[in-house]
Amino acid sequence: MIISRRNVLLGATASAALLPIAARAQTSDVVIGVIYPLSGASAQIGVDAQKAFETAAEIINKNFDFELPLARGDGLPGLGGARIRLVFADHQADPQKGRAEAERLITQEKVCAVIGTYQSAVAVTVSQICERYQIPFLSADNSSPSLHRRGLKFYFRASPHDEMYSKAMFDFFDAMRKKGVKIDTLSLFHEDTIFGTDSGNAQTKLASERGYKVISDIKYRANSPSLSAEVQQLKAANADVLMPSSYTTDGILLVKTMGELGYRPPAIVAQDAGFSEKALYDAVGDKLEGVISRGTFSLDLAAKRPMVGKINDMFKQKSGKDLNDYSSRQFMALIVMADAINRAKSIDGEKIREALVATDLPGEETIMPWKRIKFDEMGQNNDADPVLLQYVGGKFVTIFPPQAAVAEAVWPMK
């Protein structure tokens, strides 16, 4: 009795697994796997990511008059007009589940490339499995610096990592110091997962290299019910700059608690994450006039590059929000991957990999304020220049570096 039930169960699963393969034999779509957290605490990010990828897919598959790879014309000309088809999977922020989903996408859905994953821990296992199957993996928005240093040939990252971001922040501090602004002491406030740890490490290292004193280094537990004790210590330290590395939930709680305890630092320079999310500014934006965050993307680029504004409108229609740091990187990731597949004229993993290695996209043909997209031998794009954005009058304004800035930084915060 038990025997037959088990066999039935296994047989059923096996047939269910084969069905999608049979059904897809007819189409000639280019299938790309996208793995994100679609349930649990970071589900909002995953759901927004879906909209970003769908926007990019629409632009590729249909004809749009943008100075963006594959925007003009329908589909991928290098593969006879084949369209991009996205398959989404949920990794639930678990590295093992991410890997299982990646493997499923590769072996059952026959994806020719994988993009993901928001959480760097999941990117570790997903990129490993992609390497084993020789399928290219593009890290859309993982910022952990260790990811491209693992000797993987099929790992690529078009966007900056935490060391690059932190370097931009300190370049900004150096520039402000030259203008006579007093920046001597820093308070670091970072959560205890990979993101916060990497960020804290990078900032500590740069601070000591560039001659800034970290007088307070608060590591806190992500999603804490209360941050009163932590904020009290920040307040007591009273540094010139508060540097938070927090996700949305903690960011909201941080700002509210700061208000409750009467703590107003002269400046806040954030490591993005929560501080680029609309939800945070909806909640506590009134207290954050003048907050500065590092970023990859700035919406005011639309003034110089109209397609940015038009693409933002498309995204906004699907999601109800403007493009932010994450959605913009996710959008570009699909464009970059599709462009490589197009140049490879093939869905073979190795050929796509070679095309990715040969990528050399000028910054003007992207929606980013970057110099260009070109991967080094480890798969990292070192020309992805981060920017610093300041929240002024309800909008983000680029204030650094000078070539991308549209306004001077307001210092101190009001």
Binding site: S39, G40, A41, A43, Q44, V47, E191, D192, I218, K219, Y220, R221, N223, S224, P225, S226, S228, A229, E230, Q232, Q233, K235, A236, T248, T249, I252, L253, K256, G259, E260, L261, G262, E277, A279, L280, D282, A283, V284, D286
Partner: protein
């Protein structure tokens, strides 16, 4: 580490502790009543917060006004959960404890899934309320008004609860039913009615806590998870079955959390709470004031 920092941390910890106590007392009541640990307690809190938010977003009702409404709504919700789910869980003769744990645990997952389905995973906040964002400063110590209010409500709730349980007929019926359901039935008290009302009351209390927390905390489907563990530890620390224990437990947890954050890196502040819990129960296996 100045004296001001220490006093401020303790004050904040005290306020937070009273709030933890308010969240926990519903759990303590339900357990004290029928020996059931509600693993969906955090999700009850989440529902209460969402209810408060939607009353604010759609009808512009301030959380202070909607608090009694939310408490009443949670009362009904709690009674319904008992009648539809817990009542059956308690009939299990085999592995009664595990069935209760896992049926309420499954319920918690369903509630989180439903919340994500209906409300989306976006984070919500109540941006304008009478108490929100206000803070009073006494001798340089900042006391946020919503938490202060919450602490006062918690104290009032505990006093009211004490009177209710010890001085009213229904309260005594609750006690008696816990002691011996069979004997109580002989006297004509319907066990199911008593338990349903007990669940309702426990849920109403956490509903009150949720309404107040919605004033200053962010809201999303998984928000209950952060508070659930603290609630369980608070109740266990104070002693299952003791309402006063939940109150005392809350105070201890709040203060220990604040103190630990002063001496250890704040990412480890929960370790202080856990260590204190273990020390207490090793010395007093029934918690501080537990009777079961």
């Amino acid at each position: 580490m100045t004296a001001e920092t220490i006093v401020q941390s303790l004050a904040s910890g005290l306020l937070m502790g009273l709030l933890y106590g308010l969240i926990a007392v519903g759990l303590a009541l339900i357990f004290g009543l029928m020996d059931v640990v509600n693993f969906a307690h955090g999700e009850f809190l989440m529902i209460a917060m969402y209810a408060t938010f939607f009353l604010f977003a759609f009808f512009a009702v301030d959380p202070l006004l909607s608090a009694p409404l939310v408490a009443a709504a949670l009362f009904m919700f709690g009674a319904v959960v008992y009648l539809l789910v817990v009542r059956f869980a308690m009939r299990a003769k085999a592995n009664a404890g595990m069935v209760q744990i896992f049926s309420t645990f499954g319920l918690a997952i369903v509630m989180r899934g439903l919340a994500q389905f209906f409300f989306t995973p976006d984070y919500r906040s109540i941006t304008h309320s009478w108490l929100g964002g206000k803070t009073v400063s006494i001798a340089g110590i900042f006391l946020p008004v919503p938490q202060l209010f919450g602490a006062l409500v918690a104290i009032a709730a505990f006093v009211a609860l004490w009177f209710f349980i010890n001085r009213t007929d229904f309260g005594r019926a609750l006690e008696a039913t816990r002691e011996d359901a069979g004997a109580v039935a002989l006297v004509g008290i319907d066990k199911n009615r008593v338990f349903a009302l007990g669940w309702g009351l426990g849920a109403a209390l956490v509903g009150l806590a949720g309404a107040i927390m919605a004033i200053f905390f962010y809201i999303y489907p998984d928000v209950g998870a952060s508070f659930a563990l603290i609630a369980y530890v608070t109740v266990a620390l104070g002693g299952f079955g003791s309402v006063f224990g939940a109150f005392a437990g809350g105070l201890v947890v709040g203060l220990v959390e604040a103190t630990t954050a002063l001496v250890l890196p704040p990412s480890l502040k929960s370790v202080g709470i856990y260590a204190v819990y273990l020390l207490v129960v090793f010395v007093r296996p029934r918690g501080l004031f537990g009777s079961l």
